[in-house]
């Protein structure tokens, strides 16, 4: 057993931390959160130069590092409250192609993702809690050599910035994944405004024509692929939440050491200290349960229960951390001027993403 990061993981951590410290100060965070695209092409290009966009993609496709490295980097991105299509492109887009794609599809798409030339998003949910097989109603019917797809998806992340989209529809024997250029005729993208500054869209397909070669994996096997992708993405999002909660704990500690009331720093009062002790439990516990799940995935071991435990526990623990942070900060943390609310909003949004904890609670009982 080893609770420490190895050399490669430490290197990735430093790389991500330095990049974000240099390129993503609070004023950039504010600008990106308010922007319509949630995406700065200049920043994206620089990110591609760090090779971080190739994380967990095999080297033969231009990638670098494994799933644990990605976990480490996502924790850093959480720490910086990094709003970008990174998670979408790497954990969802590349993740799905890796899971379901043919050799040709991988060779075509993965180097482009790793090189920052293509952002691939994933469209699954059709209702607000739609990450389950029965929730997929979109239909793909045979048309000529390929299919014609219709339907509406909600909460498609970063569709406004994406180049390609992976779409889950019912075709012949069951749920099937398709990958296509997001500019294909018949696709309409309308932004949903979120409280967190992260970009989500409604995407409508109206008789969108695709060829047989745009089927990702086997017809009818789509949900099996998605379960695997969601398992990994759930851990990846836990890593983001861990980073956010850890940063929130740090800034709250700084505040409690400096803020004086009744002649003492408020951090000296037991009522405040005991909140902090619980926050420390929530952050440490979240980190270990996340890394254990990531390690199991990385080692090719069955991970369903560990992933579910992580997703359920981390989601609620990190929520508790931001709630306590607000209470300790008092009124200043309740303002737009303070940075805390960005974390609060993003922790909430990530907690509800990918089907929230409901999907995972079922796997634990």
């Amino acid at each position: 057993m080893d609770f420490a990061l190895n050399e490669q993981q430490e290197m990735m951590q430093t790389l991500a931390r330095d990049f974000l410290a240099g390129e993503y100060p609070e004023k950039v965070l504010r600008a990106v959160a308010e922007s319509e695209t949630g995406f700065d092409p200049r920043l994206w290009k620089k990110l591609a130069e760090t090779n971080l966009l190739g994380l967990s993609i095999p080297e033969e496709y231009g990638g670098v590092g494994d799933f644990l490295d990605l976990t480490v980097v996502l924790e850093e991105m959480g720490r910086a409250c990094f709003i970008s299509p990174f998670f979408t492109a790497v954990a969802l887009g590349a993740g799905t192609i890796l899971e379901a794609g043919s050799a040709e599809q991988k060779a075509y798409s993965l180097p482009a993702i790793a090189g920052g030339k293509s952002i691939v998003t994933l469209a699954v949910a059709e209702t607000s809690t739609g990450h389950f097989a029965e929730g997929i109603r979109s239909v793909a019917t045979r048309a000529g050599d390929g299919f014609a797809i219709s339907g509406t998806k909600l909460f498609v992340p970063d569709a406004q910035a994406a180049d390609h989209i992976i779409w889950a529809a019912r075709a012949e024997t069951g749920i099937t994944l398709f990958i296509l250029d997001i500019k294909t005729p018949g696709i309409t993208i309308r932004p949903l405004k979120t409280i967190s500054g992260e970009k989500q869209c409604e995407v409508t397909f109206e008789n969108v024509r695709v060829g047989q070669d745009q089927v990702l994996g086997y017809i009818g096997q789509g949900w099996g692929y998605l379960e695997k992708v969601l398992e990994r993405a759930s851990v990846a999002t836990c890593a983001e939440m861990v980073g956010m909660a850890d940063h929130v704990l740090r800034i709250t500690l700084d505040y409690a050491r400096e803020r004086v009331a009744f002649g003492h720093p408020i951090g000296a009062f037991q009522a405040i200290q005991h909140r902090f002790a619980d926050m420390a439990v929530d952050v440490d516990g979240s980190r270990f349960v996340t890394y254990q799940a990531a390690w199991r995935i990385n080692s090719g071991l069955p991970a369903e229960r560990e992933v579910a435990a992580a997703r359920v526990w981390v989601t609620e623990a990190c929520q508790r951390v931001v709630n306590s942070a607000h209470q300790i900060h008092g009124a200043i943390g309740f303002t737009e001027d303070h940075v805390l609310h960005f974390y609060t909003k993003k922790v909430r949004a990530r907690g509800l993403s990918l089907g929230g904890i409901g999907y995972h609670l079922g796997k634990l009982s």
């Binding site: 057993m1 990061l5 409690a256 037991q270 516990g285 270990f288 349960v289 890394y291 609670l361």
Partner: protein
């Protein structure tokens, strides 16, 4: 990052399980007696001693000690595995105080003679220990200890009262902390740590029955009890430092997360048989199961630190607090799960799960008090872990 046990550790787990399959008291397994409510069984002290000797014969109680003290130099994960398996088999025999606290404190702070004299007894499972820390007027505030040891020739003469002493009614030896300097400033610099033979004249042990109706702890009176000077550990007036190092061991001596996980599993089986698995119950099982995973990892972190030669600090307080509070939650959930049967007494007609539900529930009120209260644990995490200032 690596969360796997080594093949050698896995093999040890299988070896222990095979042994316990044959040797663990069958009745305890059938009744699903949990580690913390073994005192509910009339023959538990005899079973405890019987199993301790068997574990001692195999060298398992000292498996993680250095070879020079009779151990096998294995990592702390071996002890953890032993305790997890004992928990799974509802088996007594591990003296948390002797093996878990006194032995490591002796290895850290004891003299060579003390180690030679006391470690073999602990390793053999034949010598059981208790520790006398708390006093009627001082629980969490250890520095205020009043029991006094007066120097007289080659001896210290002890007078006073200790309380909440687990296992004092059968322990062979006692780890005693007493005041040797009433004028010390700060007061903690006037404390000394002693090893005391419980057969020494002048010791009176009176039982205290806990709210579950069981006898685990005691009050202990000292009347002119003579302790030879060679039984001082770590130097006169330097007992505080021994206690502080000991508390970090105490906080990870038990595996309450494993008790919680085992109990939760058995509860679920029971709930399934009795048709109690409603959607609401399933949801609570799922959340508690996730929490077991977290508590387990917080404990493994401490074992990992120990295996790296690092001295755990707030990490052990965190692990202990989370594990014990989790077990408390599981015990409370069990009562709610059972409805009105949950309050049937251990020996009642129609009592569910062999009486464990009510017994564990009542015992669980102690979990956030023993080995340092949860409040002290939170102080430790905030002050030693996060560096927040102390208010004085």
């Amino acid at each position: 990052m690596d969360f796997a046990f080594t093949p050698e550790e896995e093999a040890f787990r299988r070896e222990v399980a095979e042994f316990l399959e044959k040797e663990a008291p069958r009745e305890y397994r059938e009744k699903k007696v949990t580690y913390f409510d073994m005192a509910s069984q009339p023959d538990w002290i005899a079973q405890h001693r019987r199993m301790a000797e068997k574990l001692g014969e195999r060298g398992w109680l000292s498996i993680h000690w250095p070879k020079e003290y009779g151990g096998q130099d294995k990592s702390p994960f071996f002890r953890l595995i032993l305790r997890e398996e004992l928990t799974r088999y509802h088996c007594p025999g591990y003296d948390s105080i002797g093996c878990g606290i006194v032995a490591p404190a002796l290895m850290l702070k004891g003299s060579e003679e003390q180690k030679k004299r006391h470690l073999p007894g602990i390793a053999s499972g034949r010598v059981m220990w208790c520790e006398t820390l708390s006093e009627p007027n001082h629980g969490s505030d250890l520095a205020a200890i009043e029991v006094f040891a007066r120097e007289e020739g080659d001896y210290f003469i002890v007078n006073g009262q200790k309380i909440w002493t687990t296992n004092a009614h059968f322990a062979d030896w006692n780890a005693l902390i007493a005041r040797t300097d009433r004028n010390a400033n700060p007061p903690y610099r006037g404390l000394t740590f002693f090893l005391l033979d419980m057969k020494t004249p002048g010791i009176t042990v009176n039982p205290i029955i806990n709210m579950a109706g069981h006898h685990e702890f005691n009050e202990v009176f000292f009347e002119d009890v003579r302790i030879p000077k060679e039984n001082v550990v770590g130097g006169v007036n330097r007992g505080w430092y021994v206690v502080m190092s000991l508390l970090d061991y105490e906080r990870t001596s038990d595996v309450a997360y494993a008790v919680a996980a085992t109990y939760l599993e058995e509860l679920e089986e029971f709930a399934r048989e009795c048709d109690l698995l409603t959607a609401a119950a399933k949801d609570r099982f799922a959340r508690l199961r996730a929490e077991c995973q977290v508590a387990r990892l917080l404990h493994y972190r401490v074992a990992w630190m120990q295996s790296q030669g690092k001295v755990p600090n707030y990490e052990s307080a965190m692990s202990k607090m989370v594990s014990f509070e989790l077990l408390q939650k599981v015990c409370r959930f069990a009562v709610e799960l059972c409805g009105e049967s949950g309050v049937l007494a251990e020996d009642s007609l129609r009592v569910p799960m062999h009486g464990r539900i009510a017994s564990c529930y009542l015992r669980s009120f102690g979990f956030s008090l023993e080995q340092g209260t949860s409040e002290i644990d939170r102080d430790v995490i905030a002050q030693r872990g996060l560096g927040l200032p102390r208010l004085r």
